[in-house]
């Protein structure tokens, strides 16, 4: 076994919620409002719903292949080479997420706080730290997250609550003015569609009570979606749908407007805390998934040797994938065929193959009956 630690369904839910909230809260409001105006928050809720759909398929797969990660059962289902290819696709997806998060982290820090510091300083420090955390294993990541999520969620809630004096909910009217098709399409943009639920396919074997995964995951996804939606409503209520999309990071602008009785102001540092903690955790988590996957498809006994090389690759990608911040925003704000394929098509396909082979060919994949 590559991973000896075990985490509880609750810890899993917290992990999921954390990786959903952390990066989305900064980048999502700007482009969703640009697309949908005052109805952007609907897309967020819808996206959370879609995330639950992905979660459901992944959960079904995990149930049917008890004790196996997606990299292992893909090989069982599709044969050695095709299975490895599927595995590679997911590893690449996870690494790409790592690269994007690293870049977002650097871009945000340089834009908002330290304009003269080179981007690479942030990149290297976060990758180094994450790689170190990945080596410690899933259990440590989950436990660390238990503390960090408290910090992140309370900070966000506090900031939202403190800004309420400036809210003008009239900005949300007229309600439901957006085009339904556009709404659906926007909700499938990976940053909004809570595709992070796909990682459950990797960590499900390490969860103590797999039966609870679906419930814990759904609760986590929906509450993360709700928090994000409230965040967007808050920023909308302050800036209105026309002004908001002109900001690069609406949340930081949002926080800059808070000034209660001339005493409570300058909460930028709170956003920074949220962001550093969130980006760090997301990088760590996805690097962990990629490393574990790579170790499994190459049949290693431990995943430690691949962590650093994969970290280096992700770092290089974080520089080479995007020229500038406009490229980055375009990449995370456009729906693509690729994301449908990876986050919906492939899991459904794997599930179909499982069912067909179980039903018609009587192959057992070690599902229910082996369980306890």
């Amino acid at each position: 076994m590559l991973e000896k630690g075990k985490i509880s369904p609750r810890q899993m839910g917290e992990l999921l919620a954390m990786i959903m909230i952390s990066t989305a809260i900064l980048f999502v409001p700007s482009f969703t409002v640009k697309l949908l105006g005052q109805d952007a928050w609907l897309a967020i809720l819808l996206g959370a719903g879609f995330g639950v759909v992905t979660l459901y398929f992944v959960y079904q797969l995990g149930e049917r292949h008890h004790g196996q990660t997606i990299f292992q059962y893909a090989e069982h289902l599709l044969g050695k080479w095709l299975g490895k290819l599927v595995g590679l696709i997911y590893i690449w997806t996870f690494l790409r997420v790592v690269a994007i998060v690293i870049r977002e982290f650097g871009a945000f820090m340089t834009t908002s706080f330290m304009p003269n510091t080179p981007l690479s300083v942030f990149t290297f420090s976060i990758v180094l730290l994450s790689a170190w955390a990945v080596m410690a294993g899933l259990e440590v990541i989950a436990r660390m997250n238990e503390f960090l999520i408290l910090l992140v969620v309370t900070s966000l809630v506090a900031v939202l609550a403190l800004s309420m004096g400036n809210w003008d909910l009239g900005s949300l009217q007229p309600l439901f003015a957006a085009d339904l098709l556009l709404l659906l399409e926007t909700a499938t943009i990976p940053e909004i569609w809570k595709v992070d639920t796909i990682t459950i396919a990797v960590i499900m074997p390490f969860i103590t009570r797999p039966k609870r995964v679906l419930i814990a995951g759904t609760v986590a996804t929906l509450s993360a979606g709700a928090l994000l939606a409230i965040g967007i409503i808050g920023t909308l209520a302050i800036f209105g749908p026309q002004l908001l999309p002109t900001f690069r990071f609406p949340l930081i602008m949002f926080v800059r407007t808070i000034n209660i009785a001339q005493i409570l102001s300058r909460f930028e540092v709170v956003v920074m805390v949220v962001w550093v903690a969130g980006a760090f955790l997301k990088t760590t988590y996805f690097l962990y998934c990629a490393s574990l996957g790579f170790a499994q498809i190459t049949g290693l006994k431990e995943y430690r040797p691949v962590v650093f090389p994969l970290g280096v690759i992700a770092t290089v990608w974080s520089f080479s994938l995007f020229e500038n911040i406009a490229d980055l925003e375009k990449a995370i704000s456009t729906p693509s065929l690729r994301s449908y394929f990876i986050y919906l098509g492939l899991p459904v396909f794997l599930l179909l193959v499982t069912i067909v082979r179980e039903k018609f060919f009587g192959v057992s994949f070690g599902g229910e009956e082996k369980y306890e």
Partner: protein, 65 residues
């Protein structure tokens, strides 16, 4: 300067991982590590010296779409 630091970092990764694996006689792990490491080093050095590499995986992505 940056290249020097990069090489330093890459070498220290090897020093950190390789001896341990060799002592434990995990040959398969060692092989995978070195393959991946050389790929990563190649990418990183190419990036630092400013070589315009078509990213193979991004290319595939373009093809799929």
């Amino acid at each position: 300067m940056l290249l020097f630091l990069l090489v330093l970092a890459l070498v220290s990764i090897v020093i950190l991982e390789a001896p341990r694996l060799a002592f434990a006689k995990l040959w398969r792990e060692l092989a995978v590590f070195f393959t991946l490491w050389s790929f990563a080093s190649f990418l990183a050095i190419a990036q630092v010296i400013g070589l315009e590499l078509p990213n193979p995986i991004e290319l595939i992505t373009q093809l799929i779409q």
